[in-house]
Structures are given as C-alpha cells and as structure tokens.
Amino acid sequence: MSELRWNPICREWTVTATHRMDRTLLPPREYCPLCPTKKGGFTTEIPRENFEIVVFENRFPSFKIPPPKIEAESIDLHPVKESRGVCEVVVYSPEHHGSMATLSHEQIVNLIRVWRDRYEELGRKKEIEYVLIFENKGEEVGVTLHHPHGQIYAFPYLPPIPERELSSARDYRKKNDGKCLFCDVLRIEESEGSRVVASNKDFTAFLPFYARYPFEVHIYSRHHRSSLSDLTAEEDQNLASILQKVVRGYDALFETSFPYLMILHQDPVKGKRGLNHLHFEFLPPVRDMGKLKFLAGCEQGAGTFINDSIPEEKAMQLRRKIPQN
C-alpha cells in the first residue's frame, strides 16, 4: 500500500509505503543487491558483470508511475492522493567497498553528469514537480545497503523544505531589488571567512552561520546557478573537486568513513526557473568523536535545532583536514 495522506495540522503530505518495511536490510557482502552479477553467483539488481554507473527504479518505491490504487478514504479534512512519482537508486561504482571519498575524480564528474541527466529526464515527466537527489551514508543515518549509492525521489508536488527555501528567496528578491538570497549568504560567508572550509573558482564550502548540525557543510555555487543544468564542464570538474575535498575532510577528521545525509538543492522542474541557487547540504548525524546528534524533543517538537557547538570552531577543525589549494 502506498498513498499520500494530507496532514491538515502541519499542512504537509505523509507518504505511506508499507512495502518498504520488508526492504533488504544490511545483507552480507556476497548478497549485496547493488554489486554486479558475477557468473554463477547471486543475481543482483544489476544483470552485468561490470558497469560504470547504474540507475534503476527502486524495488521498494515510495512513489511510482502508475501509482498503486488508493485504499484509504479521502475526506475534505484529510484528502488522500495517489503516490505518483519515481524513486531511483544511483549506484556509483561496481566496487562494493568505498564512498565518494574513494572514487576517482573522473568518477565523481561522471556521477554529476548522471545526476544532471536524471534531473532533466525526470523533470520532463508531466507528473513531476520536484526532483530530489540525495545520499544517505552510514548505518548512523539508517542506510540498509553499504554499497556506494545515492537515491533520487521525483515528487508529484513541491515538498515543504524546497518550498520554504523558494518562498524565502522570492521574498528576498522582492525586498532587495531582485537580488538572490543565496548569493548574498555566500557573499557574507566568503567575506567573513571563518566558517569557510574549502573554495575553488566556482564553489565554496562552509558551515553556515546558522548551522543546525555541528558539522553541517553547505557547498554553494559561486555564480548564480539554479540547477545542475546550468553548470559548465569546468564547473562540473570544480564541483567534483570540492565534493571530494569535503567528504575526505570528514573522513580524515574522524578517522573513519564518516556518515552523512547529502542533499542537492536546485530549482523545481516546473514553473519559473532561476529562483533557487544550486547548493549541496551535508547533514552529518555526528556531533563529536563517538557521539551522535539526535533529533530530539526540541528539534522534533518545536522545529528548533539545538547545536551543541559553534560553527566557527567546527569549521576550523574541518578546514585543517582539507588541503587548501
């Protein structure tokens, strides 16, 4: 069963996807469904002995085209809608072990090109309003498969976080002669400098002034780009470089393959373009060595984050582990 149920209190959709309860959970390496299928071996999701990057429809999707039939009753107070959309898995590499930190620079450039292709192809579907590209990494954030991979959710509506971002950007433009809110946030971060952890010609990585997580890093395009579709080949290269610097910096600081949520923010795929500003957000669930950051009462109950650190200090720690060239 899968459907959208409207929450009139919070004014947001909840997706029910009961089949996901049975999804594959941390299988042993020889039964990894994201590895290539070897001759005489376990048949994985990928029916080839080798590949570079693979994208496939999630076996346990939250959205689907055509969607399953609605089972709950829809009433005025809480309407129910079909969970129409697409959920994809992006397998970064045929190698079972590793992460973005261990991929080659060229593999990350290729991954960026695949993300862009999916953003554009899914965006052309009439049912789709927003394409969310993300990676959940590490058991600490609930991954069920260790093989390096990310996911893409193509939503039939604009989800609340991008909607809020766009609303802020729209208001800011109105009040500031058409200026981009994100460009101005970046300008302040770059001029202040104490929270910047890495930078190149086209991208800057920093812990925002208002970081919610101790090691929350945002990577902003230094030119106003609204989506991956706006990037040049040179920007692809520089984006790959800075993404890798950040994840390697995390690994070096914590001396482990560091867990995180990585979320790509860009324009919705329908309507007027250019309002959003391409950026990545890394939201690691770690607050210090061996200590996790949980979203507890205040975060969940009030929507207010308590950050147990100040971003200037954490930026300094991380910056020391990132080559500054």
């Binding site: 990928i46 029916p47 496939f56 429809e57 076996r59 090109r113 292709d117 554009e120 080949a233 290269q237």
Partner: protein
C-alpha cells in the same frame, strides 16, 4: 562569451574533442539547447577560454543503455567513452556538451 547557432561559426573557433553534436571538421563547440559557444582559443598559450584545455581532452561522451527487467522496472547503464556509442544508447542519449 558569444553564443552562436550551430553552423554559424567563424574562423578561429575550435571544436571540442568531446563534442558529439558539433559538426566534425568545423570549428563548433556546442552546448545543450541547440546552441554553440564561441570558444576563444589562444594558440600561443594552447589554452581554451578558462584554461581548461586538458580538462576537455579528458571529457568523455556519456552513453545510456536502458533495459527493462523481468519485473518491469527499468535500469540504465551509464558509460563514458571517448566517442558517442549510438548503437548502445539506443538513441536515448540527450546531447550534453558544455563549454
């Protein structure tokens, strides 16, 4: 940077090696949306605009091969080759060259 339509390219411009839509033998470098960039090429420095000549030489064409699995789900193999592989990608690849 100037933008010119495909086929309307002046002398002194250069076609990027990775560019699959550019007309070979001419000096076109193209971009998505059916437009071409004028690439300013400084032959003395042997660098394209932005100094990324080496980068472009390494840039490969993205091929897509889509298959449908037994359970009806699609799966796409992405591969990156020096040349466009039209047979493999089944004509689905959308042109995507950037300069």
């Amino acid at each position: 940077m100037k933008v010119a339509e495909i086929g309307k390219v002046k002398q002194g411009q250069i076609q990027l090696e990775h560019c699959s839509r550019g007309v070979r033998g001419t000096n076109i470098a193209c971009r998505s949306g059916g437009y071409c960039y004028d690439i300013m090429f400084d032959r003395k420095k042997q660098k394209m605009d932005g100094g990324q000549s080496e980068m472009h030489e390494k840039h490969r064409v993205m091929n897509k091969e889509k298959i449908i699995k037994d359970d009806g789900r699609y799966l796409i193999f992405y591969s990156f080759t020096p040349e466009r592989n039209d047979e493999k990608n089944g004509g689905e690849e959308k042109h995507r060259c950037r300069s």
